[in-house]
């Protein structure tokens, strides 16, 4: 173990707050700047930071590469799933108004539809960013 105490402690203290901030960016996208893409990048940045400070091997124990690959695919599936769900509910593909009873209040469906697809974007961007970092960094081990 190396002696960069400030970096190691700082990373451990900051990581949960950065994750929380990513969630804030995700769910605050309706009210201000933000959304799935930015939140996904910030979420992935935590694991990149962890890998830079503690080494790639330990980061891969926290967030295995296979989980990151799965996230990359899962997000797209979630996005498509919301699209197909609104189609099966009687609307057009990705017309979220039909997710719930459109006669009653179409904005209700729109609201949940947007949350669903933004979640899909978050999961994909997070998985892809982590996977890309692992692919680049794994070519030669980052030794701490």
């Amino acid at each position: 173990m190396d002696d960069r105490v400030i970096l190691r402690v700082g990373t451990k203290v900051l990581s949960p707050f950065i994750l929380l901030f990513a969630l804030y960016v995700q769910f605050h996208g309706d009210y201000g700047p933000g959304g799935g893409f930015q939140a996904g990048v910030i979420f992935a940045a935590v694991f990149v930071l962890y890998a830079l400070v503690f080494g790639l091997e330990r980061a891969m124990k926290v967030m295995p590469a296979k989980v990151a690959y799965a996230c990359g695919a899962l997000g797209v599936a979630l996005y498509l799933g919301v699209g197909y769900l609104s189609m099966f509910r009687g609307g057009e593909f990705l017309n979220y108004s039909y997710l719930f009873d459109p006669e009653h209040d179409p904005t209700h469906g729109q609201h949940y539809g947007i949350i669903g697809v933004e979640l899909g974007v978050l999961v994909t961007v997070f998985g892809v960013m982590v996977a890309l970092f692992y692919a680049f960094a794994g070519r030669r081990r980052i030794d701490t």
Binding site: P33, A45, Q110, G138
Partner: protein, 224 residues
């Protein structure tokens, strides 16, 4: 902010952008170039904020200044920090850059003034989004989110798919993947045992190669 203050901020940011751009070209140290590229992205993000495009600025700061800088640093760890001297003269590239830049500057003469309400960009669907998105999508104060996620849901789906495709492409090119069941090397097949890492396999193959070459050397001596 008053109009003149905005202009001062614009000029300062653009001058910083130009200085950073020139510094990236001038430096032969790739580490410095990568760091300056990150700063370039950050200044661009500042410019987007001045133009009230906060969502774009956010993305630029997170991806341009953050993730891509880290990926470029990972690449530098593999290829080294020194840029070799160019083999060709720089006159032709300089000529092309000046002509392209000149055409682009000439093109800006035709662009409608920034922020005018009767610009073509504000004539079509933009007014509809601003007036009616509250009733159609629900009361989402950030219209950008309504447009991105609902009105332009197809586009965002395509973007998500493109990001996924980028991952697949990079993994196909760079990932080490899993080992095959057997590997052909130096005239015969090596079986890959369970739980064997790539390094183990290479070490085993090198061992055998060294062993083979001593055997061949021995035969040579007998012939002599």
């Amino acid at each position: 902010m008053t109009e003149s203050m905005v202009q001062i901020v614009d000029v300062v940011l653009l001058v910083l952008l130009a200085i950073t751009g020139i510094a990236v070209i001038r430096t032969r140290n790739l580490f410095v170039a990568v760091m300056l590229a990150g700063i370039y992205s950050l200044i661009s993000a500042g410019l987007f904020v001045v133009m009230d495009a906060v969502d774009v600025a956010f993305t630029e700061a997170a991806v341009g200044a953050g993730i891509s800088t880290v990926l470029l640093l990972c690449t530098l760890a593999l290829v080294g920090y020194k840029e070799s001297k160019p083999q060709h003269t720089t006159i032709l590239p300089l000529f092309i850059v000046i002509v392209t830049g000149g055409v682009l500057v000439y093109g800006t003469a035709e662009i409608p003034p920034f922020g005018e309400p009767d610009n073509p960009a504000h004539q079509n669907v933009a007014a509809h989004y601003i007036h009616d998105s509250g009733d159609e999508i629900g009361h989402i104060p950030n219209v950008v989110t309504s447009v991105l996620a609902s009105y332009r849901g197809y586009d965002t789906m395509g973007e998500t798919a493109v990001i996924f495709t980028a991952m697949v492409g990079v993994l196909l090119l760079l990932s080490r993947g899993s080992l095959p069941k057997r590997v052909y090397h130096a005239g015969h097949w090596h079986k890959v045992k369970r739980g064997m890492t790539r390094e183990d396999l290479i070490a085993e193959m090198e061992d055998e190669e060294a062993h083979d070459s001593t055997v061949v050397g021995g035969e040579g001596e007998e012939d002599g």
